[in-house]
């Protein structure tokens, strides 16, 4: 066989083999979370490279090696699901580097990390001061995970005692001008609803590049023609404004009327509307 034909055949064979091996091993292999997968990952890669271009050698030896590495990794993955001690041995354990805001020099030495490397890893997490860190561990993969001290963490609605409404994931229901029926079903909407919404916004389906519906059933579109302005959904903020206006109106009526009974009625209802506003504000403001 001519050499280049040989390389051609080998390339395709190994491409297919590697594809299947990674398919079997799954996403875990790709993320290389444990060092076992890291090792098998590089080895499989270099064995394949060697077997493709090393024409004087038998191709099947390379395939055998890859199959063994793949199967052993798969086997290890299955066993480590069952046993914690084996998992610690095969996948490695995280090492604590900083605890209670103090650097643990012993552990640093054990993993052979210098203080420069530690600060470099922390800097990649946008942490420039050791003092800000409450707890940091070195993951088996070699990345660092750091927990900041309470006062240095980003502010969340919970810190402010704000009640946030639950929100479901938005569904992409139009891609490249075609309707995604499955996503449409998950959003609980029909084609009829979609065509009405599109008509309301005065756009045709062909012109839509991307269309998403959020958990309130509001449709956001991106068009091919970027010169056309699509109004962003504003139903909810508008509703909040209308509610506020109504509340103000009711209060004005209660001040204007001379009828005692009516005054009471207006006051009571103004209060009810105010309570409704308070309750709805998290849902209605964007």
């Amino acid at each position: 066989m001519v050499d280049w034909v040989d390389v051609l055949v080998r390339s395709f064979v190994f491409l297919a083999l590697l594809f299947f091996i990674t398919k079997i091993l799954g996403k875990k292999q790709i993320s290389e979370l444990s060092f076992f997968e890291y090792v098998s990952g590089i080895t499989i890669g270099s064995v394949a490279g060697e077997a493709i271009t090393g024409l004087e050698k038998n191709m099947f030896h390379g395939m055998l090696a890859i199959a063994i590495f793949g199967l052993v990794t798969l086997f290890a993955d299955i066993i480590t699901l069952k046993s914690k001690s084996l998992r610690d041995m095969v996948e490695g354990r995280a090492t604590v580097f900083i605890k209670d805001g103090k650097v643990l020099e012993e552990n640093l030495k054990k993993e052979k990390y210098t203080i420069d490397e530690l600060s470099s890893l922390l800097r990649q997490k946008d942490i420039f001061r050791f003092a800000d860190v409450e707890f940091a561990v070195l993951e088996p993969r070699g990345t660092i995970s750091a927990l900041l001290k309470r006062e240095n963490r980003p502010l969340t609605p919970k810190d402010l005692n704000m009640k946030m409404p639950a929100e479901k994931e938005p569904q992409t229901i139009i891609m490249d001008g075609s309707i995604m029926d499955e996503a449409l079903r998950s959003a609980g909407k029909s084609r009829g609803w979609l065509s009405t919404e599109l008509e309301k916004l005065e756009v045709t389906l062909d012109n839509v590049f991307l269309g998403q519906v959020d958990s309130y059933g509001e449709l956001t579109l991106d068009l091919y023609d970027d010169k056309i302005q699509v109004p962003s959904p504003s139903q909810r903020p508008l509703l909040l404004a209308t509610l506020k206006k109504t509340q103000a109106d009711l209060e004005i009526f209660s001040l204007e009327t001379e009828d005692v009974q009516a005054k009471e009625m207006y006051k009571k209802n103004a209060k009810i509307v105010q309570q409704a506003i308070d309750k709805l504000t998290p849902y209605l403001s964007n």
Partner: protein, 68 residues
């Protein structure tokens, strides 16, 4: 504008709010949001009823502003 006309306008705004809340309750996916929209809609209905009686009273007091 007279008071009666103002109250009528407010009444129709409230009707609009009720309709929008009910449509939001139907269109939302999240159960919690659905529930909040629905219960608020029900309280708004009570407000609407009170205003409706008030409009009738005003029409009785000021028949000249009665809508045809």
């Amino acid at each position: 504008m007279t008071i009666a006309a103002n109250v009528k306008q407010c009444l129709s705004t409230i009707k609009g709010i009720e309709a929008q809340l009910s449509s939001l309750a139907l269109n939302s996916v999240d159960e919690g949001a659905k529930d909040v929209f629905h219960t608020t809609m029900l309280t708004i209905v009570d407000v609407k009823k009170d205003l409706q009686t008030r409009v009738l009273e005003l029409e009785r007091l000021e028949p000249q502003y009665k809508s045809s």
